[in-house]
């Protein structure tokens, strides 16, 4: 199993930390992982993205240009990464702020209205965990117990009391997923 993922959105949406939790969960489940952030002018305002690879084998390149899964959280990232999803691959996106919805027919497409849901809960910070839940519903590449361990590893101890809330948000994400194009 090798899963090559791009997560892309605005800086501040929790793109990098979502990737980190996923990567750490992979480590906990004894997988090979790599987490490669955009660290350029992007992180100084504007878009932000991270490539996460989780595999049973040694990972060749941490930088790749085609992905099994793209998790897209704004229009700029949609423009940049829609065509980098491998045929048969997966695109998950939050429809909030998306003006041009994807129309590719050769990939699986799901919406996860995470912004809306996070606003309902009243904690915008849970946004990225809701998105992560959506992804894990389609591709359960790491088991929930390891996600918990991943959360423990990647969150500072003073935030550990928030883990149940995060886990709940992941469950929420799994439940609100909306299929758009399923092969």
């Amino acid at each position: 199993m090798t899963e090559e993922i791009i997560i892309a959105g605005f800086g501040g949406q929790g793109v990098l930390s979502m990737g980190k939790i996923l990567a750490y969960s992979g480590v906990m489940q004894d997988k090979e992982v790599s987490w490669m952030p955009s660290y350029g002018p992007e992180m100084r305002g504007g878009t932000s993205n991270v490539t996460v690879i989780i595999s049973d084998e040694r990972i060749s390149s941490p930088r790749i240009n085609q992905f099994d899964t793209a998790i897209i959280l704004n229009q700029q990232s949609m423009d940049k990464f829609l065509n980098t999803v491998k045929p048969g691959g997966l695109l998950i996106y939050d429809p909030n702020g998306i003006t041009e919805h994807p129309t590719r027919k050769d990939i699986n497409i799901y919406q996860v209205p995470a912004s809306e849901e996070a606003a309902k809960i009243g904690i915008m910070k849970l946004f990225n965990m809701i998105v992560l839940g959506g992804f894990l519903k389609i591709k359960p590449i790491v088991k929930p117990e390891f996600i918990r361990k991943g959360l423990e590893k990647s969150l500072p101890e003073r935030h550990h009391h928030l883990i149940p809330e995060n886990e709940k948000a992941i469950e929420t994400g799994k439940n609100i997923l909306k299929p758009i194009n399923v092969l």
């Binding site: 480590v27 987490w35 490669m36 990972i59 390149s61 941490p62 240009n65």
Partner: protein, 359 residues
Amino acid sequence: MAKELKLMKGNEAIAESAIRAGVDGYFGYPITPQSEVLEHLMIENPVEKTGMVVLQAESETASINMVYAGAACGKKVMTSSSSPGISLMQEGLSYIAGAELPAVVVNVVRGGPGLGTIQPSQADYFQTTKGGGHGDYRLITLAPASVQEMYDFVQLAFDLAFKYRNPAIILSDGMIGQVMEKVVIDDYKPRWTDEYIAKTFPWAAVGKPASRNHNIITSLELDSAKQEQININIQKKYKVCEEKEVRYEMINCEDAEYLFVAYGSSARICQKTIELARAEGIKVGLFRPITLWPFPSKQLKEAAKNVKGILSVEMNAGQMIEDVKLATECRVKAEHFGRYGGMIPDPNEILVALKKQIM
């Protein structure tokens, strides 16, 4: 304590390794994309754990001269920076090599020339392996291709620096510096005691006992005959280093008809290209120099015997290709493919280049 598994950035791995390897001092100045080295050291505050000193100097010039002084005392000292900062250190590096002192420098390369970009690059190959500073000297150059190697090569660089009394440099780039991967980390090694240093390194300036003359550490010798002898001794040392310290890795080379030669980040990307190429039935392998100086010339010459062509893949405008051609004595077709200015080649375009330039 058993070995521990962590998820770390390459830059953090450098810093963590320095603490655990029993390094005495780090002197540095922040610059993207290597700032996490200094940041991690400041957060960990190793003076409380091992007594290691971490200091943000006023400039890169100051950093390298602090390293010069620490090294003169037989201490394990290091600095890190990125390309423009490393350029500022060249005078100091030449002095340290001239004075025959051990030191470790990390260059997390960014695109140049000039201030350039903060994105990854391998454009400092010439500077690192062919000089940079003035005079006939070499830097023992290690090129890590993973976060684990970033960690492991700190210890290795110190071992080599002390063995040859010469600066060793870890030549990384923004990609290996910024990526997070799994790392196995060791327990803390104690720093060397002053007694150990005095006993083990008779050249070190540790205070003069009555039994010997002053240790004078300098790179200045106005008597040309003496200066030539110093040079001869240094070159002898380099010959031994070239014989004994070459390191390299060969991947998928057993049946290879074509060869990529690439180091660091480029070597990782080439491994992805190999996956793509082999899926198409193209038999290509990777020769990865781990030491860029000494360059694995003999080994590459041997590996090149059975292939139809070589593509030297570098994030620069063609630098290592010169060493590839020298090593293979131009008996095999060898071409360069590169992206530069902070652009990272994608695995597909390397495959296209292989087909177009070599096949």
